[in-house]
């Protein structure tokens, strides 16, 4: 697969606040003619579209380590976005004189408006990653509770250990449900740990009282209560349409570039919302791209595959389509079943069954551990890039060197 090299991946934060364009300034200097008509423009735009197509083809072909919707795939998705964004910025910069002219000025302003909406999605996603971390804590409890006794000079699996693990799984399931149902109704019924000695009915009453303030023990979202990822995606998608012939002509083809980047932005944000838990997810945006664009095929195929995934029975009620979430759900389900069926003393066979799923759980945990931090940083990087290019773009619009 072709490596996507965007400057930020090595030192993303050192670049904040600095002009992206200045990175490329020397290389674009020669082309910086500012002429209305530029013979190289067609070529540049073609190259840009081809590049976008290649990046997304690569993303669509992902398998093995980068399985669709895995954390590493999402990271690759973000890399792809950054790559496209950078190329797009260079094109805008090269033709900045044209940027301020109607009708392109309106199209660019429109694009930046979409990007601002994407910033809120980035923040929501970052929030979702935080929630994800909280889930991982619960998985860690399970792993700690059921740590292999043979490695710890301990005896067989004890009831206390199992109960601890079981409780953590219950809590986790509730948390993951909670992400989906913002209403805390299910929590009023929650039974934090099974096998209480007595007074359970009044206990539940008591707990209901405790949790009446809303979410029981989940982190509050950092977006406002009324914020909705679904609505935000709708807003990003609003009025996005392929440029008509006369618009393409009037902008020397730049309208095509703007449409390409807007579509990339929309798709990437949509895929993020699909994958990662956030407030009021919804994937029902209208996504239409004429097949004639070279990048349309891979993006539409990815879109289709993700929609398919979301319609699968076991994924319908998920708080996110991320592969890791599915794995957690699977492990949780199996472990819960095995534990509920267990009798003491635990037979080796039963223990081995539990161990099998524990190993899988440990793997998920590990990949989350290694993946979440870089993912979060990348989301942040996307955020900064969008802010930066918007600021520069608006500068171009207002100080148009005529």
């Amino acid at each position: 697969m072709p490596a996507i090299e965007y400057q930020g991946s090595s030192a993303p934060y050192s670049l904040i606040g600095r002009s992206i364009l200045s990175i490329r300034r020397d290389q674009v200097h020669a082309m910086d003619t500012g002429h209305h008509y530029d013979a190289g423009l067609d070529q540049e735009l073609d190259a840009f579209q081809r590049r976008v197509a290649v990046l997304f083809q690569d993303l669509a072909a992902s398998d093995g380590g980068d399985e669709l919707l895995s954390i590493s795939w999402v990271r690759k998705l973000l890399d792809t976005f950054l790559g496209c964004q950078e190329e797009f910025c260079v094109i805008l910069f090269n033709h900045r004189a044209a940027v301020g002219r109607p009708p392109l000025d309106r199209m660019i302003a429109d694009f930046f408006e979409r990007s601002v909406k994407a910033l809120d999605v980035c923040n929501a996603i970052r929030d979702g990653i935080d929630h994800f971390r909280q889930w991982r804590k619960h998985l860690e409890i399970v792993l700690v509770a059921l740590a292999d006794p043979r490695q710890q000079r301990r005896g067989t699996l004890g009831e206390g250990q199992l109960r601890r693990a079981r409780k953590s799984l219950t809590d986790l399931t509730l948390l993951m449900l909670d992400e989906k149902d913002a209403a805390g109704c299910v929590l009023s019924n929650r039974n934090r740990s099974f096998g209480r000695s007595s007074g359970s009915s009044s206990r539940d009453h008591h707990q209901h009282h405790r949790s009446s303030g809303g979410h029981f023990r989940s982190l509050s979202w950092s977006v406002s209560r009324s914020w909705s990822a679904a609505r935000q995606l709708q807003a990003i998608a609003g009025n996005l349409a392929a440029p008509r012939g006369h618009e393409v002509v009037a902008t020397s083809g730049l309208a095509v570039g703007v449409f390409t980047m807007s579509s990339v932005l929309l798709f990437v944000m949509w895929a993020l919302v699909a994958a990662i838990p956030c407030q009021d997810r919804g994937l029902g945006i209208h996504f239409s791209v004429p097949r004639s664009y070279p990048w349309a095929a891979p993006i539409l195929s990815l879109h289709e595959r993700i929609v398919e995934e979301s319609k699968k029975k076991d994924r319908k009620n998920s708080s996110g389509l991320l592969k890791e979430i599915q794995q957690i759900e699977k492990c949780t389900h199996h472990l819960t079943e095995l534990m509920d069926a267990i009798k003491f003393p635990v037979t080796e066979e039963k223990e081995a069954g539990i161990r099998h799923w524990l190993e899988e759980l440990a793997q998920v945990c590990e990949s989350m551990k290694g993946g979440l931090d870089p993912l979060e940083r990348q989301v942040r990087e996307v955020f900064h890039r969008i802010v930066r290019s918007r600021t520069e773009g608006l500068d171009c619009l207002s100080h148009n060197p005529e």
């Binding site: 601002v116 700690v144 206390g160 039974n191 000695s197 009282h209 023990r217 900064h384």
Partner: protein
């Protein structure tokens, strides 16, 4: 409350499928809603009887009797139980000592010591019962209701479990281990709940009506002990306390000391039993949510970036003020008190305290920064400058505190360049430089607004032009931020120039921002001050604009009055603001003062030199005699001129009182004496009576009075006086 909700799958949990009778006791906890409740109770009752042989008489009466009896039972129960509990605890300690000594001796234990099964069973049963009392909500676990020292007992339970575990290949031991292990887990789950509700209720109570918090603690004491009376007394005293505390301690501490102490105790117990993740997680979530509740009680609401862009400026202005308050409060008040809380609750576990606190602080600061970021991105307009500078200053001023809180400095060397704290630092400086850029752009936009103010309608009466007022007031306000603006302009220049001239544009903005403290100190004369330059530029533009506006007046005198008015207004504003004065420098002020004097002279010349010409002796004397017709002509033309001047110039506006009086005085000083002497020399040549009356319309003193009516913007004053 108990709606028929679809139960989540995990509700079918528990090990109830086990046939063991101990398990029955704990079965289907989760199903104990509504209709199932009775059955559940029934089950429990059975179980309790099954246990009868193992547990002393009088214990389980309490478990499932009617509500009224329950309390009574508890009392009885504990009256008896207490001494036993101590004895049993001692026996367990004794047994523990044996196990430990065996393990220490590294004996290959072929036959482990005999298990004190009934003691362990009783111990567990009593603990379970105690927990159940608290869990049922009948009673609240508190230092006043902790006769058996629950935490100590849990600790003992933990030790017992750990000691039994290595011997669990023995069937009896295995059985006991499972008993103690699950009891320990129950104990920990109980602590977790207690921990959370202590954190949650107490922080929530702070924001609500203090009275409601106290009513919760008002419960009749349910332990009948010999010292019941004092105990009750104590209990009632306690009821008052929390409300008194929560109303007097508004901002700190986060929790009353006794609550903090209990939190610490619970945390220590959970950590030592290996429940560190549960404990930290509950704590982190509770404090995280409390922190955000605190923010919203300060008025700070979560607003999306997109929404900020759409917000009307006056609402956004309010939000900014709130944000600044919330931000400052968080950094200077909330964080230190959180830090203290974390340190106490996790005393002896500094690493946990550190990591939990930095998680909270980082998350909170990132969240708060988001708003600043959103504001920096809003459409630029002149009125936003000052609020943006306010945000900028808050970020700048609180940066050292933030650094200290996250101990960025201390760890800088060991931290990799990509630690979250470093990310935060560069994020803050990025936002600052964005705000800075916005501020520079907005300030420079002032140039544009001056340049584009090309209205063709002159201000009536030559008064101060609205543009002058606007620009000067804006500048005056801006110069209250002089140091900040100077810093921003320097940073901006530094970040712009290298990137446009250097190929190696590798200097991050954080470099430039971290240096400015030094720069500020050696801010000497040869250090270029781009802000001062910009200010000068604005002043020059304003000057040029006013000059061209003055040309809109056809009357040269009025044109000078206009320039004088505006010039004076400008000077006055500058004199009134030491910052601008300093930036523009004395030379500039001298230059403008001399301009003003010139305008004044021009005006005098334009208006009054013709008047004074009437008083010339030349031309009046024809062959040694005063020519009467010429004299009459002189008086006539003086009268007409003065009349005309009065008519027009009294409608001119000089609103600056000092300037007005300076003008009048200088006019009087020139005109009145000249007129007086002219009258003295020539009035005798006119025939007294009709002729004098006709030609001498003004006495010298009248003249002075009339001159005092000039420039008051009242055109009809002359006419009124005449009639």
């Amino acid at each position: 409350m108990e709606k028929a909700q679809p139960l989540p799958p995990q509700k079918s949990n528990s090990f109830s499928s086990s046939s063991r009778e101990e398990k029955l006791r704990e079965s289907n906890r989760s199903l104990s809603f509504g209709a199932i409740k009775l059955e559940d109770r029934h089950q429990k009752k059975e179980t309790d009887y099954n246990r009868e042989d193992r547990i002393k008489e009088g214990k389980e009466i309490n478990a499932d009797e009617k509500q009224e009896e329950k309390e009574e039972a508890t009392k009885e129960n504990f009256q008896e139980a207490e001494p036993n509990f101590i004895a049993i605890s001692e026996e367990i300690d004794h047994f523990l000592a044996i196990l430990v000594s065996l393990q220490d001796a590294q004996f290959q234990i072929s036959e482990p010591p005999e298990l004190p099964e009934s003691n362990i069973e009783t111990f567990i049963a009593m603990l379970e019962m105690e927990i159940a009392t608290y869990e049922s909500g009948e009673q609240k676990w508190s230092p006043d209701h902790d006769e058996i020292c629950l935490l100590d007992a849990f600790n003992r339970l933990h030790k017992l479990t750990s000691a039994l575990t290595p011997l669990s290949s023995n069937a009896k031991y295995n059985h006991a281990m499972n008993r103690t292990g699950s009891a320990l887990h129950h104990a920990m789950a109980f602590l977790e709940d207690e921990f959370f509700s202590l954190l949650d209720e107490n922080s929530r109570a702070k924001q609500q009506d203090p009275g409601s918090a106290s009513s919760k603690t008002k419960r009749p004491p349910s332990f009948s002990r010999p010292q019941q009376q004092p105990q009750q007394q104590h209990e009632q005293d306690r009821c008052i306390l929390p409300s008194a505390e929560s109303s007097t301690h508004e901002d700190s501490p986060t929790y009353p000391p006794d609550v903090v102490e209990r939190l610490r105790g619970i945390a220590a117990a959970m950590i030592s039993a290996g429940y560190v993740t549960e404990c930290s997680e509950v704590f982190a979530v509770a404090r995280h949510n409390a922190f955000y509740a605190g923010l919203s009680s300060l008025g700070f609401e979560k607003i999306g970036i997109d929404d900020v862009q759409k917000m009307a400026w006056d609402s956004l202005e309010g939000e900014i003020a709130t944000w600044i308050r919330a931000f400052r409060h968080s950094i200077t008040v909330s964080f230190p008190s959180e830090r203290e809380l974390f340190d106490i609750v996790f005393s002896g576990h500094q690493e946990i305290a550190n990591s939990l606190f930095s998680d909270l602080a980082l998350r909170a600061v990132f969240q708060l920064l988001n708003f600043a970021e959103a504001v920096a991105m809003t459409k630029r307009s002149t009125e936003k400058l000052f609020k943006m500078l306010d945000i900028y200053e808050s970020l700048r001023d609180l940066m050292p505190t933030i650094d200290a809180i996250l101990s960025v400095e201390a760890n800088e060397e060991e931290e990799s360049a990509s630690s979250p704290a470093m990310d935060l630092k560069s994020e803050i400086s990025a936002i600052r430089s964005r705000l800075g850029e916005a501020a520079v752009a907005i300030f420079c936009d002032l140039e544009t607004s001056i340049k584009t103010d090309t209205g063709k309608t002159p201000v009536p009466g030559g008064a101060v032009h609205p543009l002058t007022r606007y620009v000067m007031n804006y500048l005056k306000y801006a110069c209250e931020y002089k140091n900040t603006l100077e810093q921003i302009f320097r940073d901006y220049q530094r970040s712009e120039r290298p990137s446009s001239y250097d190929d190696d544009g590798d200097d991050a903005p954080s470099d430039s921002t971290s240096n400015h403290e030094n720069k500020e100190n050696n801010n000497n004369a040869d250090d270029p001050n781009p802000f001062a330059e910009q200010l000068m530029e604005v002043m020059e533009l304003l000057h040029a604009n006013l000059e061209s506006k003055s040309k809109l007046y056809k009357d040269q005198a009025l044109c000078n009055i206009f320039l004088m008015n505006n010039g004076r207004y400008i000077m006055k504003k500058i004199k009134g603001a030491a910052e601008i004065n300093e930036l523009l420098g004395d030379a500039w002020c001298r230059k403008r003062s001399s301009d003003l004097r010139q305008y004044h002279k021009n005006y005098q010349r334009e208006t009054w030199s013709k008047v004074l010409a009437c008083f010339r002796d030349g031309g009046l004397n024809v062959k040694g005699n005063v020519s009467k017709p010429v004299l009459k002509e002189r008086f006539k033309s003086f009268n007409a001129m003065f009349d005309e001047i009065l008519k027009t110039q009294s409608s001119w506006v000089v609103s600056d009182e000092q300037l007005q009086s300076e003008l009048r005085v200088s006019i009087s000083a020139v005109v009145v004496p000249a007129y007086r002497s002219f009258l003295g020399r020539y009035s005798q040549y006119l025939d007294p009576g009709r002729q004098t009356e006709k030609y001498i319309k003004f006495g010298a003193d009248d003249l002075e009075n009339y001159i005092d009516e000039l420039f008051d913007g009242n055109p009809s004053s002359m006419a009124r006086r005449r009639t």
